[in-house]
Amino acid sequence: MLEVTDLGCVRGDRRLFSDVNFTLSSGSYLQVQGPNGSGKTSLLRLICGLLAPSEGHIRWQGANIGSLGEDYFTSLSYVGHRNGLKEELTPIENLRVTSGLSGTQLSQQEATSILGKIGLSGRDHLPARLLSEGQRRRTALARLMTCETSLWVLDEVLTSLDSSAVRFVTSLLDEHLNKGGIAVVATHHELDLSANSYQQLNLAS
């Protein structure tokens, strides 16, 4: 369970948002919306623990995420608006390295089959810099299929994806939520999810 209470964010001398409150129990989905510069990315980075909250608290399973340290990261997956791929490495290498770093060993075949599912078969031996923006985004999202984390934090992941890829991400999210996972997604797309708890947060108000 993810609890956010009275969260506020100040960057420089500008207040982005204040008094953000929500509670996400397992199986719930939160869509974060708001105009550009309203603090969507900052909110997601706060949830990941990349930013320290200036006011308010973020609790995971009842404990403050700051005090959980690395234990929190075993249950968290974050895909930012920068893909987090090494341009020099192929999608297979990228996937194997990122999953290796989070403690899941992935063989060459497993990586190939996962990338095949996300629509990159035949492209998985090219360095990532030769791929299109959408293909790189798909490679970044493939990470979600290798991990067993319960909290997904996705920042604008649907940009530069075609409609079939959006459908794929939707089904991926659906599966994750049905397994009892939690997802926080900053996007302007209304996703067609079957999740029973669908919350929206608008940072403009």
Binding site: L51, F73, T74, L85, G100, L101
Partner: protein, 219 residues
Amino acid sequence: MFRWVVVRDLTLAWKGRVDVLSTLFFFVIVVSLFPLGIGPETHLLRLIAPGVVWVAALLASMLSLGRLFANDYQDGTLEQLLLTPQPLYLVVLGKVMALWLVSGVPLALLSPVLGIQFGLPRNALFVLVVSLLLGTPVLALIGSIGAALTLGLRGGGLLVSILVLPLYIPVLIFGAGAVDASIMDSGVQGSLSLLGALLVLSLVFAPWATAAALRISLE
């Protein structure tokens, strides 16, 4: 997981080996300029050799610091590294170790060839390699703090050198001191032990400081 950090950075170094080689070439060329500039005065060359090789090693290892975090910061992989379920201390240690393996070790192994240009006796060449093998990891560890602190700043490269070079001074003194002592045939053990002590000290504290600096830089 620690292994993956090292494997990752070594793979990346292999794919970008031109960068690695150019740092090494920089070291070779800087050291070689001195005998060419001064001329064949064996006594003088032998006298300045330890200092010259060590200063060049300092500069070369500072050049390689730019690769440590900056690329990972730009493509967002550093954020991912911060979010892996292992202490950031170990991530930093893995990255510094990979950097040392591709910059410090080849530099140390190459140094006897350069020492010959200065007419160093055989035992001094040996001490030179040992002192560089002990000293270059310290340089990489201390440098990682500076690289993390200046991450994402404009003109970060110059700032790193101002921050880091003063901290390199003890390593320079004991490193060059050990080689000096072996030329004079006095005991080298003191300087080498102090270098070893610096290594232990920086192994314990530097990754911790770098981890803290990374968290601040990524805010």
